[in-house]
């Protein structure tokens, strides 16, 4: 095994790229869960965002338009989830699972014509002088705008949840929807807004994956990233900065795995491919082991349906 073939700066760079879609999706789901809704359809919203973004980038060549289209596609699927769970009172877990399957199906259908096609959308930041600094120049100033957007989004979500009144209301709705209703807050409206935001973020993550990370359309290309995003939310104990950490940790595991495969480590590649998912399960088990702790962090009304009449 030749470790000298690995360049730490390159590794770090690809780690950030691998973590960004996870971060987008996890931030969105974090807000959704803070409002008391469990949307297990992240995977479906991501892949719909991926094909939406890919198709748009294929047609227009614009990263900004692709990002918008991805977010829109994710939000559209989320709107379906909102309608079913908040107005038709369907079960959140079952609806979320159905959303994943539905999203995967729709994405394959739409993506038929794009199978195997590649993209050439380059929108890397290039600041003369700064980006040219050896090692850290490219790491800090050489990314595409969406990477910076994901970091800004983390800060904004943190600020929204902890410093803004709207965020306080959202947390209150997730904590005790009966009480929030009794005081006079529109529980349903808050939740629908959160669900749409979560969908847009998942879609954005999917678009990033298909347009920037691997600019190539492959059926089912999200490959479980939506589930990892869900796991990151629990890992993060519903805190935005820990979600950032979580996304980078999980992104890192993916990159290490890929690089080990490339180096020809004498383990079956299937084991390496499993690694990120095994780590996910392991982390969830460890985190949930302390029952009291887990219950304190989780929004108290997570996944509970709210009947406005009572």
């Amino acid at each position: 095994m030749d470790l000298s073939a690995l360049n730490p700066a390159d590794l770090a760079f690809s780690l950030i790229v691998a973590a960004t879609p996870l971060l987008f999706a996890a931030l969105g789901e974090l807000v959704v869960e803070k409002s008391g809704v469990l949307n297990l359809g992240v995977e479906g919203m991501m892949i719909l965002g991926a094909i939406g973004g890919f198709a748009t980038a294929h047609g227009s060549g614009s990263l900004a338009l692709a990002a918008l289209a991805g977010a829109g596609a994710g939000a559209l699927l989320a709107a379906l989830f909102a309608l079913m769970t908040q107005y038709l009172m369907s079960n959140q877990v079952a609806t979320g699972l159905a959303l994943t399957l539905f999203g995967l199906g729709v994405a394959s259908l739409v993506g038929q014509g794009y199978a195997g096609q590649t993209l050439q959308v380059s929108a890397r930041l290039d600041i003369p002088g700064l980006t040219d600094i050896p090692v850290i120049g490219r790491l800090l100033f050489g990314h595409d705008p969406l990477v910076y957007l994901s970091l800004v989004a983390t800060a904004l979500v943190w600020w929204f949840l902890n410093r803004s009144r709207a965020g306080l209301i959202l947390r209150a709705v997730g904590e005790n929807h009966e009480a929030a209703h009794a005081i006079g807050y529109p529980v349903r409206l808050v939740r629908v807004s959160a669900i749409l935001f979560g969908g847009a973020m998942a879609g954005l993550g999917g678009a990033y994956l298909a347009v920037v990370q691997t600019p190539l359309w492959v059926e089912g290309m999200t490959a479980g990233r939506g589930w990892i995003a869900l796991a990151i939310v629990v890992f993060a104990a519903w805190r935005p900065w820990r979600a950032l950490l979580g996304a980078y940790v999980f992104g890192g595991v993916t990159i290490v795995q890929l690089n080990l495969q490339a180096l020809g480590v004498a383990i079956e590649s299937q084991y390496l491919s499993m690694a990120p998912y095994l780590v996910t399960i392991l982390v969830l088990v460890v985190i949930s082991a302390d029952r009291a702790r887990a219950r304190l962090d989780a929004p108290a009304c997570l996944g509970k349906p709210f009947y406005a009449s009572s």
């Binding site: 009144r165 306080l168 209301i169 947390r171 209150a172 904590e175 005790n176 009966e178 009480a179 929030a180 009794a182 005081i183 006079g184 807050y185 029952r291 009291a292 702790r293 219950r295 304190l296 929004p299 108290a300």
Partner: protein, 512 residues
């Protein structure tokens, strides 16, 4: 009423209010008026329509008929926010608080135009000190006692300078001294000209505090009076529309030990739970042990340990000498230990299952509602009907979901279900919480006769008057410690109040 028209215009007036829910007229032709600075009592049994009425005043429900007036002007709030803006504040019976949020965040949520965090902290301190309701704005609500939680609700309402403050059963969870503090606050407010609409089951309180009362029965106004000129008994009779049976003094001859707990120490699994510390107690046949104490001092944990929801070392709990600490609820039930937990929906009863199905959940063994793995539906229905008749549960039939019953009615059903199984030991948590005077009498009578028949009973309650009335022995739980049981005849309310304030620990330390 003439009294109020004498001091000029009433602050708040309801005229012929009507509210209909599918199948039930909750309020019918309800009219009353509250003068400025008046403490006005709203009395009525469970299901009399008090909650519906105050929800309409607070903008949570819209009346189907009639009108409300505030300072003479028409008043029809569409949302609680509008009610608050109009000067109406409300303190809920089941607090509308958020455990994971801080005191200040909780207060901010209940205000229409909350100031910035730092200014709000200062105002919370200011108002809470001015009215003798000390509060730390930075604490998480989950860590606070019930009394402190209620202060949050009151301070939240006061910060908006309300003209009418609605209090829904405010003292049901307070210690006697906390209740005294609250009365002081309410009197100060009334002197400042704030009107208070006071809902309570505690008739003595209403007599001490209120200067007018409107009594509701079956959704209609059944009477108006000045509670200061009435007795608690006459108020209760007006409320239920018939004479109350006087409680009989119990003949108490304790028999053999039924249930004994020895050195039970149990850390709580809940984030804001209480650790039980070295509990010792013995329940003999014929005993009714009243456990007093402020909510959140280990009552829930004690009930869970006794019911078998939390397992302990087998020898820590013995039922008739046999170690049962390691057994689950079903096994304990089979041996004769029944539990009626405090939370009715979701803990004592499955909300979406019918009443007869709910009887099967705990009574299938002792009442023979199942045989060879098959349910005996007819027997279950018969058993459920017996509970309904004997405990006066108001329901359209036993095939209706538990959820459809009002809180007090479901409470009667749950307690009745356990009592009719004729257990050797009954643990009842808050058996009459939210139950009206007539039904509470039925439940207490049933508990007494169960004990008289040779069972041992433990009643955990925050209602001291109730404990003094039905218990033979009394003990206080405080911070997870249980004081040594004393015969009720030998203890005064003042001594209990002292124990509730943490005296149990001082006593335990002195013993050690």
């Amino acid at each position: 009423m003439s009294e109020r028209s004498a001091n000029g215009q009433a602050l708040f007036e309801a005229k012929s209010l009507r509210k209909v829910f599918p199948g039930v007229v909750a309020n019918d032709d309800v009219s009353f008026a509250v003068g400025a600075g008046e403490v006005h009592a709203l009395l009525g049994e469970n299901g009399a329509g008090k909650s519906t009425l105050v929800k309409m005043i607070y903008g949570l429900l819209r009346p189907d008929g009639g009108e409300m007036r505030l300072r003479g002007a028409p008043y029809a709030p569409a949302r609680p926010g509008e009610a608050r803006a109009a000067g109406i504040g409300m303190v809920f019976q089941h607090f509308s608080l958020f455990e994971a949020l801080t005191v200040a965040e909780n207060v901010a949520l209940g205000m229409n135009d909350a100031p910035r965090a730092r200014a709000l902290d200062a105002r919370i301190r200011e108002v809470s000190e001015a009215y003798g309701l000390p509060l730390d704005p930075g604490r998480r609500v989950g860590e606070l006692s019930v009394g402190e939680r209620q202060r949050i609700e009151i301070v939240r309402a006061l910060l908006q300078a309300p003209r009418l403050l609605i209090m829904d059963e405010p003292t049901s969870v307070l210690t006697p001294s906390e209740a005294e503090t609250l009365f002081g606050t309410l009197r100060t407010l009334a002197e400042e000209g704030v009107s208070i609409l006071y809902i309570s089951h505690k008739l003595e309180e209403i007599r001490a505090l209120c200067s007018a009362a409107t009594i509701l029965r079956g959704g209609k106004v059944s009477g108006r009076c000045d509670p200061r000129a009435e007795t608690a008994r006459s108020l209760a009779e007006m409320m239920i529309g018939r004479a109350l049976a006087a409680p009989k003094a119990t003949d108490w001859k304790p028999g053999a030990a039924r249930l004994s707990v020895e050195k039970l120490t149990l850390p709580s699994a809940e984030p804001f739970g209480v650790t039980l510390r070295s509990l010792d107690l013995t329940l003999r046949a014929g005993d009714v042990l009243g456990v007093a104490g402020v909510a959140g001092n280990g009552q829930d944990e004690l009930v869970a340990a006794l019911s078998g929801e939390t397992r302990t070392r087998p020898e820590a709990i013995r039922l008739g000498g046999a170690p049962i600490g390691g057994l689950g609820p079903e096994a304990r039930r089979a041996l004769g230990l029944s539990v009626a937990p405090e939370e009715r929906l979701g803990h004592a009863a499955a909300p979406d299952m019918s009443l007869s199905e709910n009887t099967i959940l705990t009574a299938r063994g002792r009442a023979g509602l199942a045989s060879r793995g098959f349910l005996r539906k007819a027997a279950a229905e018969g058993f459920a009907n017996r509970i309904v008749t004997e405990f006066g549960v108001r329901t359209a039939g036993v095939s209706h979901a538990a959820r459809s019953l009002s809180g007090g009615n479901l409470q009667k059903f749950v307690v009745g279900r356990e009592i009719l199984q004729k257990p050797d030991v009954l643990i009842a948590a808050q058996p009459t919480w939210g139950v009206d005077a007539g039904a509470a009498e039925t439940i207490r009578g049933a508990i007494r006769s169960l004990a008289a028949g040779g069972a041992a009973v433990m009643v955990i309650s925050q209602d001291l008057d109730e404990l003094m009335e039905i218990s033979t022995l009394l003990s206080v739980i405080s911070e997870g410690r249980l004081s040594f049981p004393v015969p009720v005849a030998d203890i005064t309310v003042e001594q209990i109040a002292l124990l509730m304030g943490g005296g149990a620990r001082a006593e335990a330390d002195a013993d050690a």
